[in-house]
Symmetry: C2
Subunit: 355 residues, 2 copies
C-alpha cells in the first residue's frame, strides 16, 4: 500500500511525482532546501510541507535530487526515519549506489529507481502529473533489497502511470548511456556546429535539425553531472558514434560511397528498433487521413464531431498550421479498417480529405 | 505570371509542388518515367499527363528528380522546349550546376532551386500541397541568369506558400550541409549505435532518442546520393562533430568536466539559434492546457465541442497516449488570454485539466 509519501526535492521530477501521487489520493509531504521551490510545489497542489517533527514514517520516501546529492540526502532521510521504504530518481545508478553504500545507508529499504520522463524545462513550475504516463520506470534492487520494498516502489511507479521495469544497475547505466546520455551529448555537438552557420544557413533549417537539437536545450549543470556520473558507458557510445562519423567524413572526401551507404543502412535498421510513442512503432501510413481545416473557432470541434458521427474513434491527431494562410491540416490517426469510412463521411460532409 | 507549369518527376517533391500549383489555378502538366507514379499523381489531382506533342511552352518547368539525374533531364526538357523558364529542386547545387553547364544547357533560363520541405516517406502518395508552406525555398541564380526567370521561379515558390531566399550556390551547399545533410548522417550514426542495445535498453528509450533518430528512417539511396554530391561541405561538418564527440569521450574517461561542460554550453547556444516551427520559437507554456481524455469514441470530439462552447479556438493539439491505460492526455494550445477561461469551462464540464 502507498497511502503516504515524502518527496525530498521539489524540482521537475519530484513535483511531478508528487502531483501524480496526490491526484491518486496519496498523502504527500514535500521538502526542498529552496523555500520558493517548496512553496510553488505546494501551491500547485503537489502536497503539504513536511513537518519538522515527523511522528509516523511514511510508506515511501522519494529522494528527487541530482545524482551527486542522492547519497547524503538519503542518509539524512533514513536517520530521520522519514519512511519505511526509500527510492531515488537519479538517471545514473552504479556510482550513486556505490556512494550510498559507502555512507552506511540501510540498503534493505532502498530501491534505486529511475523514471524515464523529463522535459527541457526545469523546476516545479514545469511539473506535470502526467510526466510519467506510459513511460518506463527502471528499478534496480540489489540482492539484499527487501522484496516488500521493491513491491512498494513498483506500486509507486504504477500510481504515476508508469511501467516499472526491474533491471540490473550496470545494465541500466549502459542502457541509458545508449538511449539517453550519449544522444544528449550528440545533440549538443550538432547544435554546437550550428554556431558556424550564418543567418542564411539557419534560415534553411527545417524540422530535421530542430528534432536533432531539441534536447541540447536542456540544463547544462544537470547534464554535466549526469554524463560525469555515467562517464564510462557514455564515453564508449560516443567513441563509436565519433568513429562512424569520422569514417563517413573520410569516405566522403575519398569518394567511397560504400562506407556512407553502410552507415545509412545501419541507421535505418537502428531507427526501426526505436519504440514508437505507443510502444508499437510509428503509426502505419494506411491509418492516417489529412484533412484541411479552416483556422477559425470551432473548426476542429466540427471535424471531431463529424468523425464521431461516422462512428470512428480518432486515436491521434497532429495539426500542421500554415503560416500566412487561413488554413491548417489535421492529420487524423485511426485504425486502418476505419480510414476509408471516415474519408467518405468527411468528404460527403464537405471536408477536403487527403490520404 | 505562372499560369502553366510542367513538372518532370512525380515523386514526393514534384507531386507536392504540382498539387500546390494546381490548387492555385495553375495548369499543370506532369511527366515521370514511371507510369504508375505518373498515374497516381494525376489521380491525386496534381495535374494532367504531359502531351507527347507539346504545342506551346509552359511558363515554367520544374525538374523534380534526384540530384544526379537533373542535368540530363534538364537538357532534354530544354531541347523539347517544354517551358520558357526552368528550375530544379535538388538539395545540392554546385555539383549539379557544374554538370548542367558541361552538358551545354541554356543557363540564362535555368534558376537552380531547392525547396526546404520533405518527409521520411517517398513517392507521390506521400505528397502534400502544404509541404512547403512557411518553409524557405532557396534560389541560386548565377550572374548570367535572366532576371525575368528569377522572377518567375520566385513566384512559383510563393504559389507553393514558401519563402523564396536568394543565396549563392556554394553558400547554399555549405548551409544545407550544416542544417540538413550532416545532421542526417549524425542521426544515422546515433540510430546505428542502438543496434548494440538489447530489448531492455530500447525499452528505456524516450522522446529524446526518438527525435534524434527520426530522420535516420529516410531513403538510403537518395541520401547516399545527396551526401555524395555535397561531399566536401558535409565532411567538414562531420569532422567537427566527430572531433567534439571524441574530445568529450576522452574528457569523460579522464574525468575532465570542463570539456564536457563547454560542449553542453555551446550546444545550448547553438540550440537557441534554431528557428521554431512557426518562425517564433516554441509555444509559450502559458498557452497550453493538458486535459486527460478517456480512450473511447467521441472523447476528442466532446472535448473540442466543449472548447467551442466556451468560445475558445484551439490552435494546436497534441495527444499523448498512455499504453496500457484507458486514457490519454490532450495538450491544447490556445492564446494565453483564453487559457484560464478554457480551463474553468472544461473543469466545470467535468474534464480533468492540468496547466
Amino acid at each position: 500500500m502507498v497511502e503516504s509519501a515524502v518527496v525530498v526535492g521539489t524540482g521537475l521530477i519530484g513535483t511531478s511525482i508528487a502531483l501524480a501521487l496526490h491526484q491518486r489520493g496519496v498523502d504527500v509531504a514535500l521538502s526542498d532546501r529552496d523555500p520558493a521551490a517548496l512553496r510553488l510545489a505546494c501551491d500547485l497542489g503537489a502536497g503539504r510541507p513536511l513537518a519538522q517533527e515527523q511522528t509516523e514514517p511514511a510508506d515511501v520516501a522519494v529522494v528527487a535530487v541530482p545524482p551527486g546529492a542522492v547519497p547524503a540526502v538519503l542518509r539524512d532521510a533514513q536517520r530521520r526515519g522519514l519512511a519505511r521504504v526509500y527510492t531515488d530518481v537519479a538517471s545514473v545508478k552504479s556510482s550513486v549506489v556505490r556512494r550510498v553504500a559507502e555512507l552506511g545507508c540501510d540498503l534493505t529499504s532502498y530501491v534505486p529507481g529511475h523514471p524515464m520522463g523529463g522535459r527541457e524545462r526545469q523546476g516545479p513550475g514545469a511539473a506535470r502529473a502526467d510526466l510519467f504516463l506510459g513511460r518506463s520506470w527502471a528499478l534496480c534492487p540489489a540482492a539484499g533489497t527487501d522484496p516488500a520494498a521493491v513491491k512498494t516502489v513498483t506500486l509507486l511507479a504504477e500510481l504515476c502511470g508508469a511501467d516499472p521495469l526491474v533491471v540490473d544497475e550496470a545494465a541500466h547505466d549502459r542502457a541509458v548511456a545508449l538511449v539517453s546520455h550519449a544522444p544528449h551529448a550528440v545533440s549538443a555537438a550538432v547544435a554546437a556546429s550550428l554556431l558556424d552557420g550564418d543567418a542564411t544557413a539557419l534560415a534553411l533549417a527545417g524540422q530535421g535539425v530542430r528534432d536533432m537539437t531539441r534536447i541540447a536545450g536542456g540544463d547544462v549543470g544537470l547534464w554535466r553531472e549526469i554524463l560525469g556520473h555515467n562517464a564510462g558507458p557514455v564515453a564508449a557510445v560516443l567513441e563509436r558514434v565519433a568513429a562512424d562519423l569520422a569514417a563517413a567524413a573520410a569516405a566522403l572526401r575519398s569518394g567511397d560511397p560504400g562506407v556512407v551507404e553502410d552507415l545509412l543502412e545501419r541507421g535505418r535498421a537502428g531507427h526501426a528498433r526505436v519504440p514508437g510513442k505507443r510502444g508499437a512503432g510509428p503509426t502505419p501510413d494506411d491509418a492516417v487521413l489529412s484533412v484541411v481545416i479552416p483556422d477559425e473557432p470551432g473548426a476542429l470541434g466540427r471535424l471531431f464531431a463529424a468523425a464521431a458521427e461516422a462512428g470512428v474513434n480518432v486515436e491521434d491527431v497532429r495539426i500542421d498550421h500554415s503560416p500566412g494562410l487561413p488554413l491548417g491540416v489535421a492529420q487524423l490517426s485511426v485504425v486502418p479498417e476505419a480510414r476509408d469510412r471516415l474519408a467518405r463521411a468527411l468528404t460527403e460532409g464537405g471536408w477536403s480529405v487527403h490520404r
